[in-house]
Amino acid sequence: MDPFESIKATFFQECEELLTDMESGLLAMEQGDDDSETINAVFRAVHSVKGGAGAFGLEELIRFAHVFETVLDEMRSGKLHLTDEVAKVLLRASDVLADHVAAARSGGSVDEGRTVGMIADLQALIDQDRAAELGLNDDGDPNAGEEDFGFVPVVLSLDEPTADAPEVDVAALMAAAAAEPAEAANPVAAPGWRITFRPKAEMYAKANEAALVLRELARLGEVEVALDADAVPPLDQLSAEQAYLTWTIRLSGDKSEAEVREVFEFVEDDCELEVTREGETAAADVATPADDDASASAVEAAAAAPLDLDALLARVAGSAEEPAPPAAPEPVAAAPAAPPAPPAQAPANLDVVGLIALAEKASQDHAQTQAVAPKVEQKAEPKAEARASAGAPTAATPTIRVDLDRVDRLINAVGELVIQQAMLSQRVFESGLARSSDVALGLEDLELLTREIQDSVMAIRAQPVKSVFQRMPRLVREVADMVGKKVRLVMDGENTEVDKTVIERLSDPITHMLRNAIDHGLETPEEREAGGKAAEGTVRLAALHRGGRIVIEVQDDGRGINRPRVRGIAVSKGLIAEDAVLSDDEIDNLIFLPGFSTADVVSDISGRGVGMDVVKRSIQALGGRISITSEPGKGSKFSMSLPLTLAVLDGMVVSAADQTLVAPLSNIVESLTPRAEDVHLIGGRDAVICIRDTFVPLIDVGVALGFRDTPLPPASGVAVLVESEGGGKAALLVEAIQGQRQVVIKSLEANYQHIHGVAAATILGDGRVALILDVDALVTTSRRKAPRIEKRMAV
């Protein structure tokens, strides 16, 4: 592949992940999560998409992403507040963004009208919030904490008060510890910014240049740049690939923080950046007479964060009656509460503790500052916890991206290993070696090991169903819009794991069932309200493991199945006899019959008469089952259960007509030795067997597969009672049952073609190929008495 193309492909792969992150973040926000981490995560995702798109010149995508990003940035800086309405707009915007990415990927185009409409909606949010900003924003929204805040490693040289940097850093620390953004606390715009910009080595590695950033910054207003080169080691220790320099920039002018940050847009992930509003109105009144230099700088630090103090003092005043907690021990307690920090961060933590202690010392003769110290500490602790808990999921084990082909090759090879190992064991056993011999014991260990390898390899392919589930919120939104219903989608068990091959095929049935639930299951808002329900319907999509299978449930709280109507339709379409006596369950299951559709209006979404029967068939093709339970007025629940993997199967190894065959265990009900008097002939050839007073067809497997012409005398074989997915029962007559075994499924179609009655093939311990029976086909063939299939001869 063209290297550029391959980079582009990687970009789109990343986009998928980013869009997923974005959507899950937005969904969390829709649920009212206005944590700054969440908003930041969404912002970063959109930002990265935009950044990548820039590299490939995807103009449309950039244009949209930019507007989207601007809105998110407003939220990030706390100017725009999260409301239900905002979340909805953002979610729709995320859909449009996904469309843009898809269009860019396929080279197609996006519905221009929708994009323009969406941009207008987003713009409206910005304008609305700009308008709000002009009014008084006095509730001090604490959401604006920047991600880079927190305990950032800064050089804090208290005994070197000459430079400006320590003061700024201390201020930043205070601000970080208090997690109290300056601007939120101070509605009056300050005339300047202090920016501490410390590039990391990664920034240079990505060919970014600090000088360009600074030059860009200079365009915003008058700047004073101070370089802190203290960290530069002696020349012999200097590593050319490391970053040592820190700049402190004082920027005058009344630019917004967003504008300042925009300059650092492309490097912000690779640098430590602090943007602090510089208060001209330094709260000098807070500063106290100092005993020594150290405490002076600490108090100076407190003074440099006067905005925090104002807010804090206001709060403290509220609880003035309470005695101030003993400050000295608690700051120490705050440090251990901090998350295990990377080495670089450790000094910063220590500095905070030291700083607070100093502040405490200095404030002994000043009640106001004393009040500050415990407050700072109190705020620091929850922040530390928040970081610790936020750190847990992000500290997820590192992953690698691997081509699926490679994994499949590995799985095949391991399958071979298992077979080869089984063959070896068998040969050793046949050669007459004692079970207790060293060779046999070694082989046993080998067997355990191979099993373990097989399990681990299968686990590689196991993936959470999340990848399918995450597409559903959008689908639900769109379908709900289309049919004019209000729907809330609740998803459970997204992390349930299932084999990749199964996951890929889950999407269609789930899509169909969800559409069905919204279109047919839920009532319109008016109907719901009339029925005493919330106007918003709930659809629950859940995945869980049950009995070695994965169960997917789609449940709605709608009207439930209208049984008389279903029955009426089934009769009118000739699917059942008019006088048929059916249980409620049976009526419910009529909807799975081919050609059944209950929608009054054949809509775009469902109801083309290819409804549930298609779903049922596609699920059966995966070796799955689907069922429905319904309660009138309360809703319906579809459950489908699928095998966890399509690569292995639990089977019963049987022999018929000298052939070894495997019957899927999931089909088998029981096995029994037929008595001659229980077997009856119907007509010339067809036999039925009476099992506990029920007659079921007796199918001679050897004859059904054409391996021999004359049926086996029933009494000399074993009958295996099977149930097909369609619910039909039959007894398969075989010569003997050899045992039960997990077998690796091998496709026959890959090199040959499908054979009726054979589902697939597998390789047994002796290295021979054995065929896996297609029980459904055998049962239906016997039932329908299909004409003998002609042998196809080419030519």
Partner: protein, 155 residues
């Protein structure tokens, strides 16, 4: 002169010759993946008689076509002396059961003669052409027609 040489080189190819009964056939060496001894195959139900069944080729299920039966020649039950030529046909890999592999032939396309009209339909379907080699007649097999037609292809 140069042209002729280039042309000649471009059209040269290597073929693997094998015997079925007393007749000699060949296929392009590039389509042959390996040659192995006969091992008992697992019969497949409802298949034409020339499909001997499937064997395990290092984990892949490999259908075995009795090429003699496919060509309408008289065949006997395979023994350990028979060989299976594993060949690629498009996306598929199949085994061809033949009596023995006899030779590797290096020849050019222009020596191949079209199959004469005398041949039966069945032979004409599978034989792309003939050529003479040291007084022997060798038939070039059209591999893509060896597999039984699938339903999709027939439709």
């Amino acid at each position: 002169m140069t042209d002729t040489v280039t042309q000649g080189v471009a059209q040269r190819r290597e073929l693997i010759a094998f015997r079925i009964g007393d007749q000699e056939f060949c296929v392009d060496i590039m389509s042959v993946r390996e040659i192995r001894g006969w091992a008992p195959a697992t019969p497949l139900p409802r298949t034409p008689s020339f499909v001997k069944g499937v064997i395990n080729l290092r984990g892949a299920v490999l259908p075995i076509i009795d090429l003699g039966a496919r060509l309408g020649l008289s065949t006997s039950e395979p023994t350990a002396r028979h060989v299976i030529m594993v060949v690629h046909i498009g996306e598929r890999t199949i085994g061809l059961l033949v009596d023995a592999v006899s030779d590797i032939i290096n020849m050019s396309d222009d020596l191949v003669q079209p199959t004469p009209d005398v041949a039966s339909d069945q032979v004409k379907t599978f034989v792309k052409g003939l050529f003479a080699l040291d007084g022997r007649m060798v038939s070039l097999i059209a591999l893509d027609r060896v597999l039984p037609e699938t339903e999709a292809e027939a439709a």
